[in-house]
Symmetry: C2
Subunit: 402 residues, 2 copies
């Protein structure tokens, strides 16, 4: 597997466009992706029972199982809790875009992200769609820019694998950065490949990958109304990925790498975040237990504020493990921190270990820190990612609408 | 029911003491409660699977069902994650205190709160116990002061009811103010009464009351290792409270009032909190659904930061309801805010309502705000309490240990 330049447009047979339609103040806010051929598509959607209109719409199309040609994403407005107006606006966008693109009505997926409960300004959306269609061929990072909300950097990644002498590419882009919490699909993330992948197999790969990537991160414990992950496979490379083959294993690893990389970028860019915390769980009774423990730790406000303050307050980690719902013997737990500045063990066999507070501070002052958790319940492992809770999280969210 | 002065020492037949034993820097940190007669006792304890030694110890005694005479509480140190040393320290305290008080070994309950993972300084604890025994008779607010950690004010309340011409009193005290989240019993809260209440009935009253008081508040979503609620009934009033009688109903209401008042005080004094949010749920299919919705709203970091910023960002409320796990029709939801500054409706029948942003700001700038949530699922109601998430929460928890 080779990491290559670009993102969602790196695989063959995809074109993109991004424009500033006026949904955000003079920033790119509308992105269009077009596949030259019909692509198979799989998706995962928010588990929030309040779903935005575009989520319900896209979910229906993905579940129907037919291929699609295009994806239209806007930021600046979630088109959520907008009632029948929201549905009518969505239908208008679909009709207008598919007509301009000369594709079938069911061949486009829609995603929206931004403020909840405000109708879409259609007088800006429709000219924006037209401008996108007229400028297809934009660089990938323009699309990655156009889907952002409070994010501070674009999130994209692309890889190439070689299967029987032929190249297959997978690319992705995503946006965070608040209302992010495991167990609800994801935020917005889109993955393309020019491999030829059957719809059911693509869905299987996607659901497996979600469980260890987007579902293992938390910024703030809030599950958005608009979370969506979509994966497109258009077969433009001419290489077919057949389930069970050795090339499928290679493809799966590359696909997981793209998703995990995007997930980590999302949490690294969590609202107000200054640090990335990786939690490595060993010795859990089951993988699900390990994942639950990791999610509980990265989801704890007290763990997150201690991380912000570079305080090796491991008691909060143990406490978050204790209320996760997973049963374990506290006397079989070991805890350690590491980062480029060094490593320290802080708890072992139910007892605190004396440690060098100065070194602990240095370790926790780094930008990327790993927390090592070992239990004595079994041999399963899991990994989760979180960020710190800073003054800026409060600042950003204290007045998001203005 | 009449609200009276005082707290835990207001009912007849209880004495107290509080000293500065040196567990905290020159502040009261050790409290002793003694009942002149053996009192029945009921309790609720943290659901965290990492339990502090005193929690396990007190839980065993309460479950055994025999009466007790005394309660010893220290702040400044949780005696949690302290291994066999923690148990041995606890046994030493029990032996020493019961000997000094001339009561039986099983007649004392212990609670600890403070930092996790640091052994108790027994050279300070034992002289502290002796000083408490020697000074029994302190004012109630000294005890309420001695159990505090990051709290900014003492939390106590007392009420009097008259049953067949005779007075019965109920008093309580509690401490917060971080690691507080529903569904795990409580933080530390203690309630005394001079009513005569059988142990099983006291337990029933307590569990019912917990469900609508301490379990309906959230400060930060973190469930502590030390949460404990204890209720003592020593019968010193000479009035017996018999289950099913009309006086029992009166007693129950007074008991719930004490617990609900303490719970509200805890969340009002949440770490860094500047505002108290009351969430009133109507039209839920079941009481449990209503409680789950209320807890999800008050537990949302995004709802809490919007409250801090006085931002009527009701979309976050709807979002938090949506991921609560309760299924409901978003189109049957209405949302409104009120406070002493006025009231506004913001969402109705699945649609945003236009509202006066200036008035909304004034309403949310108050110290106590109510959020009214109406669903169209049934006729059940529930009530929950939360606080805002401020810069000071981050500050307080960014370096709690130092």
């Amino acid at each position: 597997m080779k990491i290559i330049e670009g993102g969602i447009l790196s695989p063959l047979g995809y074109k993109g466009a991004a424009v500033a339609a006026g949904l955000k103040k003079s920033k790119l806010d509308l992105a269009l992706l077009l596949s030259q051929e019909v692509a198979t598509v799989a998706g995962a959607f928010t588990t929030n029972c309040v779903k935005a209109a575009p989520v319900i719409y896209s979910q229906r199309i993905v579940e129907k199982g037919d291929g699609v040609r295009a994806l239209l994403v806007n930021s600046g407005n979630a088109n959520a809790a907008t009632g029948s107006q929201g549905w009518s606006d969505l239908e208008t966008s679909v009709a207008y875009a598919t007509n301009e693109l000369k594709i079938k009505r069911e061949e486009i997926l829609l995603c929206s992200t931004g403020v909840i409960g405000v109708p879409l300004p259609m007088e800006k959306v429709l000219p924006g769609i037209k401008a996108c269609v007229n400028t297809l061929g934009a660089p990938a990072n323009d699309l990655a820019q156009a889907i952002l909300t409070t994010d501070t950097f674009t999130k994209e990644v692309a890889v190439e694998i070689v299967i029987e002498g032929q190249s297959v590419r997978i690319g992705g882009m995503a946006k965070g950065s608040g209302m992010i919490h495991p167990n609800m699909a994801t935020m917005l993330a889109f993955v393309t490949t020019d491999g030829e992948v059957e719809r059911d197999y693509l869905e299987k790969l996607l659901l497996e990958s979600v469980a260890e990537s987007y579902n293992m991160i938390s910024v703030d414990g809030d599950t958005s109304t608009n979370d969506t992950l979509l994966a497109f496979a258009n077969g433009a490379s001419g290489v077919k990925i057949v389930e069970g083959s050795s090339s499928a294993q290679l493809f799966k690893e590359a696909f997981n790498y793209v998703n995990t990389t995007l997930a980590k970028m999302i949490v690294q860019d969590g609202e107000g975040a200054t640090k990335l915390l990786t939690v490595e769980i060993k010795g859990a009774a089951t993988v699900e237990d390990g994942r639950t423990l990791a999610r509980s730790i990265v989801g704890s406000n007290l763990v997150k504020t201690a991380l912000f303050g570079s305080d090796a307050n491991w008691g909060r980690t143990l406490c978050a493990m204790g209320y996760s719902g997973v049963s374990f013997d506290p006397e079989g737990v070991s805890l350690a921190y590491s980062s480029p500045a060094g490593s320290i063990e802080v708890f072992q066999g139910g007892l605190p270990l004396p440690f060098d507070e100065k070194l602990a501070k240095e370790i926790l002052n780094e930008k990327e820190i790993t927390l090592w958790v070992e239990l004595s319940e079994g041999s399963c492992t899991a990994r989760g990612w979180g960020c710190d809770l800073s003054y800026d999280y409060v600042k950003i969210n204290g007045d998001y609408r203005s």
